[in-house]
């Protein structure tokens, strides 16, 4: 016998409201106004004549109003008669309810999401279970999880588990879910009369079915029923794909790939780039059906690091994939202080003439470096507060206060570049700079006659460049070869065996003497160039390689090269986060506010793996040492994107799926709970409408 059940039984608490008409009638009766009236005989006569008719209409009206309210309450409670119970049953039915939680289930028909429809159907199914039936619940998301196992006949347990389900942002594998369901059903007991069934509640997007289910050979074969929760919903969708950023001299180029999963062309599709809610640029693109298109925006590069969002400002079947984010590093300038130890009135003879032109050949915007030049006698410790890199070029002597401040500056993370020249007193420099120097100076020697233009190939050349060092990594072989051809005729030789700890030679002269050495100092770095930054000792300032090398050295010393672009991943995929020097772990703040403390595991060195990328968006990363935050960073965060496959809502071919699944289990498509056919909401609403009309008719009279 079919049973009338309700998807929202709590609404039935409204049934007592059906007594309202009677209560109102009684209240009116007692609260009737007293009204003196002269023609009482008429009223009495009329009342006597129509008493029976009036009483009948009264009762009818009360009945109609009571039924009207009752019908509305029942309709709100979601009544339905399950078709599952109809027909002959041979025995108990054990069902593994598989609810698809993948991103595509966030699609909607304008009123309810596919996920909402699946939960509704699951609820109806559970409510219509016969007492001897059992069910278990499988959540098919990034992983397949059994939420209720073993199969239970407790509706409340199953409904509670169902209520806790939430749609996810990743992919799902429903073939794996079938295997999980089959395994659960295999444990529900013996008995040939038990009918085993796996009910897949899904939007039936084709991408969720990959492979063939592998079921245990000795377990009973279940019947797989595919319930498409969105059978008649248009599957048209468009998504924002890869977003590429390219920094130009004065702007940022944002190139967004758009993909159509629709059956129709979309000419003039509106697209925009925004930072938060502020739209930076908007444009239109023609998106042919089923194809891709690319829209390029040119925007002003933000001064600080920002998350750009490229989006399609509209709603379609799956709106979640209508936007994609990209991280832009910002254009914060490197600030440098140049200390000029040999200032000259003739520009090209000035110690820093070539350096200044190299650091800012076309203004600070193009190079990203802003510098200030001072002479040694005007150098003050306070000047170091606002800079990240200091160049000491051909300095004779230093004030002790400045040297003290300089040590603090470098150990705090600043960069120091020391170059030599005729003003440098080797002994004085060794004594004053002391431990700041990567290597003690021994003497200044001539390696050949002066050759400022390098035309006579005099002097020595650079050799043994440390091409793996970040300073040289980006340069092409031609540039590096060009550096090695630079002639230098005068340079300092270094004291043998007087290299500081962790000193690294980045470049030698052909005569074997180090030309460029580096040493970490506290959190900062010091680079010593054993020749001059002008053309007094070397022809390098006149060479093309001088400019990019000095710019790169400046950025390197400022610590900017160590910042890598944020790693990007798809929801559910693990991400490696490099550790900064001195860091022993990282803290990751997820978009939903959750915080994760991560430390390297096992053989991982200098990297931690973050796996809980269950949500799309920006995961901020902070380096930690001994549980305390570090100012250093390797990556500012992690950018997690939606899986592209989920944007394709094309339904699976039931026949093909039947053949695939049918190799392991029997397979059928279409509703088992009769959904619309079983729903009685419309019937009750229709009844309520009829009663409303009847009420209007009765009160009109």
């Amino acid at each position: 016998m079919n049973e009338l059940v309700f998807t929202r039984p709590e609404m039935l608490w409204g049934l007592p409201a059906a007594a309202l008409p009677l209560i109102i009638h009684l209240i009116n009766r007692h609260r009737a106004r007293r009204r003196p009236f002269a023609a009482m005989d008429f009223l009495l006569r009329v009342k006597r004549l129509s008493a029976r008719r009036i009483l009948l209409r009264h009762i009818l009206l009360l009945l109609v109003r009571t039924l009207l309210i009752a019908c509305l309450v029942l309709a709100a409670a979601g009544p339905f008669i399950s078709a599952l119970e109809a027909g002959a049953r041979r025995g108990p039915v054990h069902t593994a309810l598989v609810v698809d939680l993948s991103l595509s289930m966030r699609g909607n028909d304008g009123e309810i999401s596919f996920f909402g429809a699946a939960v509704e159907k699951a609820r109806r199914f559970l409510l219509s279970m016969a007492p001897e039936d059992k069910a278990c619940l499988v959540a098919a998301g990034l992983t397949c999880r059994a939420l209720v196992e073993p199969c239970s006949d407790s509706r409340s347990t199953l409904l509670d588990a169902l209520d806790r389900l939430e749609p996810q942002w990743g992919e799902s594998n429903l073939i794996a879910a079938i295997e999980t369901g089959a395994a659960l059903l295999a444990d529900t007991g013996e008995g040939e009369e038990i009918e085993r069934r796996i009910l897949l509640l899904t939007d039936a997007s084709a991408h969720a079915f990959t492979g063939t289910p592998q079921l245990a050979g000795d377990s009973p074969t279940p019947r797989v029923v595919l319930e498409n929760v969105a059978p008649d919903i248009p599957r048209d969708n468009a998504a924002v794909g890869e977003v590429r950023l390219r920094a130009k001299a004065r702007y940022l180029e944002v190139s967004a790939g758009l993909r159509s999963y629709s059956r129709g062309d979309e000419p003039g599709l509106s697209t925009e780039v925004a930072v938060g809610k502020q739209v930076l640029s908007r444009g239109f693109v023609d998106l042919p059906a089923g194809e891709t298109a690319r829209k390029v925006f040119h925007i002003q590069a933000p001064a600080e690091a920002e998350l750009l969002t490229v989006r399609l400002p509209r709603s379609d079947t799956l709106s979640a994939d209508n936007e994609r984010r990209a991280h832009v590093a910002g254009r914060r300038l490197v600030r440098a202080l140049l200390v000029n130890g040999d200032m000259r009135p003739v520009l090209h003879r000035d110690e820093l003439f070539y350096l200044e032109n190299a650091l800012s050949p076309a203004g600070e915007v193009s190079s990203g470096i802003r510098f200030t030049t001072v002479t040694p006698d005007r150098l003050q410790g306070a000047m170091l507060d606002d800079v990240e890199v200091v160049f000491l070029a051909n300095i004779h002597d230093y004030s002790p206060a400045v040297i003290s401040k300089l040590r603090g500056f470098v150990s705090g993370g600043g960069g120091l570049f020391v170059s030599l020249g005729d003003n440098v007193n080797v002994d004085l420099t060794n004594r004053v700079l002391d431990d700041l120097l990567p290597w003690k100076l021994r003497d200044v020697i001539a390696t050949g006659p002066a050759d400022p233009d390098g035309a006579h190939r005099r002097g020595t050349t650079f050799t043994r460049l440390d091409r793996a060092h970040p300073l040289f990594v980006p340069f092409s072989k031609q540039v590096l070869d060009a550096i090695e051809r630079v002639r230098t005729w005068k340079a300092a030789v270094l004291e043998p065996g007087a290299a500081g700890p962790r000193t690294r030679v980045l470049m030698d002269f052909a005569n074997g003497s180090p030309a460029l050495v580096e040493k970490p100092y506290g959190n900062g770095k010091v680079i010593l160039f054993t020749s001059t930054l002008d053309r007094d000792w070397s022809a390098w300032p006149a060479r093309a390689s001088y400019l990019p090398f000095l710019q790169r050295a400046t950025i390197y010393l400022a610590g900017r090269l160590e910042r890598l672009p944020p790693p990007e991943a798809t929801v559910g995929a693990p991400v490696d986060i490099p550790l900064a020097d001195g860091a022993d772990g990282v803290t990751v703040n997820a978009p939903d506010g959750r915080q994760f403390e991560l430390v390297p595991e096992g053989s991982d060195v200098g990297v931690v793996t973050f796996a809980d990328t269950s949500q799309p968006g920006w995961y901020a990363v902070a380096q930690t040492a001994a549980g305390r935050g570090l100012s250093k960073e390797t990556v500012p965060g992690i950018l997690v994107h939606l899986p592209r496959r989920e944007s394709d809502l094309s339904p699976v071919d039931a026949e093909v799926l039947g053949e695939t699944v049918g190799k392991a289990a029997s397979f059928s498509v279409a509703g088992v709970d009769g959904d619309a056919a079983g729903s009685r909401t419309a019937l009750f609403l229709l009844l309520a409408l009829g009663l409303l009309l009847m009420e209007a008719f009765l009160t009109r009279k």
Binding site: R34, R35, P36, F37, A38, R45, H58
Partner: protein, 326 residues
Amino acid sequence: MAETSKRNHRQHGGQQGAGRSPRGPGDDSLFDPEVLARLSGLKLQVARVVDGVLAGLHRSSRHGESVDFAEHKEYAPGDDPRHLDWRLLGRSDRWYVKKYEAETSMKVLLALDYSGSMDYASGPFTKARYSALLAASLAMLLLRQGDSVGLILDSGSQPTRIPPAGRAEHLKDLVHAIEEATPQGPTRLRRVADSYAEHAGQRCMLVLFSDLFDPDPEMLGAFKMLAARGHEVLIFHVLDRDETDFPFEDPALFESLEDERSLLVFPRQLRDAYLEEMRIFLEGTQRALAEGGLNYELVVTDEPPHLPLIRQLSGRRARRAAARKP
């Protein structure tokens, strides 16, 4: 609210029918019950109504003369020269004076039903007060033309009776008696008819003001009997708009004004039946009185009170004129 508009509409319709200029003696807004009710005392109200009646009749009544011209008489010494027909003198050089109907004096007994049911009002006037205003106005008009006017006021246990008299000061007595009375008790119109029959002489006329809400089925028969005996009977059937339209919406406990009866009524359910019952009552009454040769005037208390008087006086003149034609 809708009912108010309806009433106003009716009132304005009546005023337009009178066709008077605004604010003059013929301006009907002056006779609106709402306006009349602001005048203190029945006398003032009566004076205003009488002005309206006279203006409505298109006659100058400033000299207090009869309004009904009857015939010519050859002038003889002692006749009032004011009554000379100057036009006829100009045409024929003969001296005639006009003779008026009123000069043949008649007795009129005004009968006021002051039962409890007459104490109902949805507007400024109860039916009793409205009837009193009509009666007193008519009395003033009759006294002005030299008729004798008496009063039968049926309120409470015994009807009050004031014998007919033709003095102008008699109006004070009538008004005083009316103002002293309070509507109360059941409607007993047969007692009014009996009282009239007992005291009326020859050539006497009865003018009754009542809502006719008398449960006595023989009530109308008594008045028809009077008409059959040669008495002229005029009945002003005074009703309130609530009684003719039954505009109530909310459930209410309707209580009788004459006894202890009460009834819980959902007006919307009873309205149609009530209106049908009222229609049958009015048509039956009108038909029965017409068959008995009685004059009948239905009056609703939201109507300017001079209008029903004008209708009756004009109709009476027309009837007389018709009766004089060979």
